[in-house]
């Protein structure tokens, strides 16, 4: 019996040792034959599920394959999950291109998990609008969006509620809990807190005014949604008339017939993008760069804009059908969030939100 236990212990230790970092590949060496990463005619892209996955799988990838013969394999997942995967596989990556939200682009860059992207290796970068670039050189913005208040136009008109002119207008007993705001774990929630701070004299260095206003917001809310996909049915079912959403979701809901519109408060709305990063040490750097270059081409950006995202390059406009719901005029206030600062303070803000804001939920509702 002792021998068996010893053998099992050795096996366990070997397995545990295997959990560590994999052996780095020698430069120029091809990837092993595992997974979809074995040939030069395919690349593996990891990114968000839903509309982003659909756009890449059904619209972009077929066009790219037609032009270059390179097949795109897509792995859907959340930005944070993808970052963890990329980190765990950092010496022998199975993912060639990873899509991240802005703070994760920064974190991936800080952890040295991404290759530099510039006009030198991505020629189409010259056309990219700077407002959408999260971290200089770390990723190429692809799916442009704004995080902004969205309201049901019919309900607002019927109830005689005034327009949303400031982020502070989200906080009102008039809406009687008919709001759907997401939790701080989601980027929409995090940006809402930042905007509330800005609207009340705070900043990323002084979150106190934002926390105070967010407590009031919590008081008039039934919850903060842990899952952003729950907000859509709440709006569709008429359970919520006011929310803070990504602009691509607002356009999608408007297209499906919901009377919803994005509001642009006087303090501005943050512009950002889901960005493509080139994973460090990928054996398919050349093919991956080709795909990233295609993603920021006018052709691909026109196709992406058709799905309700803001084009991130000069010379491409948001289609007419989306102008009513999410159009941004020249003089509308927008701003570029301080992504490195966001990444630095995220844990602290989340902690304060959980301990100070969440306990106030529903306290001001009758």
């Amino acid at each position: 019996m002792k021998k068996v236990i010893t053998a099992l212990s050795i096996f366990m230790l070997l397995c545990l040792a295997a959990c560590g970092a994999p052996t780095p590949q020698k430069s120029g060496e091809q990837a092993s034959s595992e997974g979809g990463n074995s040939d030069n005619k395919s690349i593996t892209v990891a990114g968000n599920g839903g509309v982003i996955e659909q756009t890449i799988r059904d619209v972009i990838a077929p066009k790219f394959e037609e032009e270059t013969g390179i097949k795109v394999n897509y792995i859907p997942g959340l930005s944070g999950e993808i970052l963890s995967k990329v980190e765990l596989q950092k010496n022998a990556p199975h993912i060639d291109i990873a899509f991240f939200v802005p703070t994760d682009v920064y974190r991936a860059n800080e952890k040295d998990l991404t290759e530099i992207l510039s006009e030198e290796n991505v020629p189409n970068f010259t056309n990219v609008i700077d407002d959408f670039v999260s971290v200089e050189g770390a990723g190429a913005p692809v799916f442009g969006l704004a995080i902004a208040p969205a309201y049901n136009t019919e309900s607002f008109e019927k109830n005689g509620w005034g327009p949303i002119e400031s982020w502070n207008d989200l906080v009102s007993g008039d809406y009687e809990g008919k709001t759907a705001f997401v939790d701080i774990t989601n980027d929409w929630g995090f940006n809402t807190l930042n905007a509330l701070a800005m609207a009340n004299g705070g900043s990323t260095d002084n979150i106190d005014p934002g926390i105070e206003k967010a407590k009031e917001l919590a008081g008039y809310s039934t919850t903060f949604y842990k899952n952003s996909t729950q907000v859509m049915p709440a709006i569709q079912q008429g359970a919520a008339d006011l929310s803070v959403l990504g602009s691509y979701v607002i356009s999608d809901l408007a297209e499906s017939g919901i009377p919803i519109k994005m509001a642009i408060p006087k303090e501005g709305v943050p512009l950002q993008a889901f960005s493509a990063t080139l994973v460090k040490n990928t054996p398919k750097e050349e093919q991956a760069l080709q795909f990233i270059d295609y993603l920021v081409s006018e052709e691909a950006q026109s196709l992406i804009a058709e799905e309700g995202f803001y084009p991130v390059v000069e010379g491409v406009d948001l289609p007419e059908k989306y102008q009513e719901s999410i159009g941004i005029a020249e003089d509308d206030p927008t701003f570029k969030p301080d992504v490195p600062k966001f990444a630095e303070i995220r844990a602290e803000w989340s902690d304060r939100w959980n301990k100070e804001v969440v306990p106030e939920i529903g306290k001001l509702l009758e």
């Binding site: 096996f11 397995c15 560590g20």
Partner: protein, 313 residues
């Protein structure tokens, strides 16, 4: 007499007189060896896909920096100290235990009559009920929760119906509360409770109830003195199953509870996935595991030591 005794003694000591080689072989024969051989595949599977990842998570929980590769890591108990000194995490643990206990209780109250009906029904009816009970397991838990979510919204089917019937004047707060999570969890894990109880009910000798009835016991007395005590092993295993599953449930509390019900698995997910604090998340998950194991141990041990200990033999 003396001769017989001597013969017996000789028989008893006979093995000692075996030649040394035979004795060695007999010693080498291991009765557990075939069983172990059969279990090898599952043991390897468990070690590879459960024990090893869990050991890795345990190792991470002692690292005080958030570096998955462990390069330049410093080791300390700081994650555990933060956890046990911060009332937010302790409250989260308490909420998780409370919700899991209540979900087990609701599943027991709903499940026992169903199990009893199944045990007494004909084979056909029993098969039909089994199918009905197990059918929710065929639907993805995410889909099921979205179904509940739409039903329980303030303007959802349940509230609208109750208001139309005049039973309530304003919508009840069924979602985003502990009630919503308990409804979701007890619904999701009801089949485990029913199937555990019904198995122990099948094992009750029907002649016991007959004998008791002949002796004049009423159906209620029969139930309280025979059926219920003898089905305790099923109740205990059902409760342990539902409790353990509820303690580790993520989807239902996240969808039905929102931010209002910060159960531990949701907090762990947020730490690891959103804040990338793997090491602290690992410590939280180990404390959750420890609490579950301790609760289950105390619960089963309590029953095994109670006056009903005989039925657990």
């Amino acid at each position: 007499m003396e001769a017989a005794r001597a013969q017996n003694h000789q028989k008893r000591v006979a093995p000692k007189e075996q030649p040394p080689q035979q004795e060695k072989r007999a010693k080498k024969r291991k009765p557990w060896a075939p069983g172990l051989l059969l279990l090898t595949s599952i043991l390897l599977f468990l070690f590879g896909f459960f024990v090893v990842p869990m050991l890795y998570i345990l190792y991470l929980s002692f690292i005080s920096t958030d570096n998955l590769s462990g390069e330049g890591a410093s080791y300390s108990l700081s994650n555990y100290i933060t956890l046990f000194t911060d009332s937010y995490y302790l409250n989260s643990l308490w909420v998780t235990v409370k919700i899991s206990l209540l979900s087990s209780l609701v599943a027991l109250v709903l499940g026992y009559p169903i199990a009893l009906t199944m045990a007494k029904a004909s084979a056909k009816i029993r098969a039909l009920i089994t199918l009905l009970i197990a059918s929710p397991l065929l639907v993805s838990i995410v889909v099921r929760n979205f179904g509940w979510y739409l039903l329980l919204l303030p303007n959802g089917t349940v509230n609208t119906l109750l208001m139309d019937l005049g039973l309530i004047s304003k919508p009840m707060n069924l979602l985003f509360s502990e009630v919503g999570v308990i409804i979701g969890l007890s619904n999701a894990y009801l089949p485990f409770m029913v199937l555990a109880i019904v198995t122990s009910l099948y094992n009750i000798d029907p002649s016991l109830e007959k004998a008791s009835a002949i002796l004049g016991a009423s159906p209620l007395r029969n139930f309280l003195s025979i059926t219920l005590p003898l089905s305790l092993p099923g109740i205990v295993s059902g409760c342990v199953l539902v409790f353990s599953l509820s303690m580790s449930a993520y989807v239902t509390p996240a969808l039905m509870g929102g931010a209002n019900v910060p159960v531990m698995p949701v907090v762990v997910y947020d730490q690891i996935n959103n804040l990338l604090q793997w090491t602290f998340g690992s410590a939280l998950s180990y404390v959750l595991l420890g609490t579950t194991l301790l609760s289950v141990f105390l619960f089963t041990r309590g029953f095994e030591k109670s006056k009903f200990k005989e039925v657990f033999r």
